[in-house]
């Protein structure tokens, strides 16, 4: 009995760090999905990304760039919700999405809040051992909410080069996580 207890304890010890790393916003997203009139869910883990990469055409500039970006990615998760009318979701629904994005692991490099149009965009980068290893975008509008979670080594230069492709801008990314460039809060 004692041995079984030790084995279980060891299993938890092994599993716990992995669970802590793989942040799961599933509960918050489910709530939002239930309120939304339209939902887009893109869930691509590493194996799916590799599989998709084989079907991306290197001759097509967009697809070639996409192939390059996803080559080292561990996962891309995009959840976009549309709501019938404003006020169908609240800040309380968004807070759980933001909760794990804390320093020093995560840095918010962009936080645009537009009261006029009601558009808010927050961009977070995860930095480990001096390298960007994750990107989260939370974009909210009165009747729309988008949550993007990209896991894996991200080269800011790739995003800079994407200007004009996929509509991705040449975002200036500060290498220093302390410098929250563009924060306009």
């Amino acid at each position: 009995m004692k041995r079984i207890g030790i084995i279980i304890a060891l299993l938890f010890a092994v599993q716990w760090p992995a669970a802590a790393q793989d942040w799961d916003p599933g509960g918050a997203l489910k709530k939002l999905s239930a309120k939304a009139s339209k939902a887009i869910d893109v869930t691509l883990d590493q194996s799916m990304l590799q599989f998709a990469g084989a079907f991306l055409d290197s001759k097509d500039p967009d697809q070639a760039q996409a192939k390059k970006i996803i080559s080292n990615m561990k996962g891309i998760y995009v959840h976009s919700f549309e709501f019938e009318k404003a006020g169908e979701y609240s800040e309380d629904d968004v807070t759980p999405l933001r909760a794990p994005l804390k320093e020093p692991l995560w840095s918010r490099i962009v936080n645009v809040r537009s009261k006029h149009e009601g558009q808010n965009v927050e961009v977070y980068f995860k930095k480990e051992d001096g390298k960007f290893t994750g990107l989260v975008v939370i974009a909210t509008e009165p009747t729309e909410l988008t949550f993007v979670d990209i896991i894996g080594p991200i080269n800011p230069d790739d995003f800079r080069r994407l200007g004009g492709q996929f509509g991705i801008p040449k975002v200036e990314i500060d290498q220093d996580p302390a410098g929250k460039k563009g924060e306009t809060k």
Partner: protein
């Protein structure tokens, strides 16, 4: 008439069959028609050495059917794989487009700030 002639006449004399002979012959003929082929020949027929040769034709048809089914399976699997790949590719492109569009909004707002535009509080 000599003795030999008498003996021949006696030997070739018409003899009436026993009662029910004709019925028994007809019944037996009917039974022979219904009898199944001899079991020991079945395996020969299977490999095309049957009396009629139909076994070989059936064997060839079965082989052809197996080949067609196997080929269909391979083609179907490849087609499914291609479809799944195309769907995954579309999902990657959709994910990057959505991400890009949101980053575009962020960048536009930053540009407005940099160009001295009114900060949108």
């Amino acid at each position: 008439m000599n003795r030999l002639e008498n003996e021949l006449k006696k030997a070739l004399e018409r003899v009436e069959p026993p009662a029910g002979f004709a019925e028994r012959v007809l019944a037996r003929a009917a039974r022979v028609g219904d009898e199944k082929p001899v079991r020991s020949r079945r395996w020969l027929e299977l490999f095309g050495f049957g009396v009629t040769g139909m076994g070989g034709l059936r064997w060839a048809a079965a082989c052809a059917l197996c080949v067609v089914l196997a080929a269909s399976g391979v083609i179907y699997e490849r087609d499914m794989q291609r479809r799944r790949g195309e769907e995954a590719k579309d999902q990657v492109m959709l994910a990057l487009r959505i991400t890009g569009s949101k980053l575009q909004i962020a960048e536009q707002s930053l540009k407005e700030l940099d160009s001295g535009g009114q900060p949108q509080q």
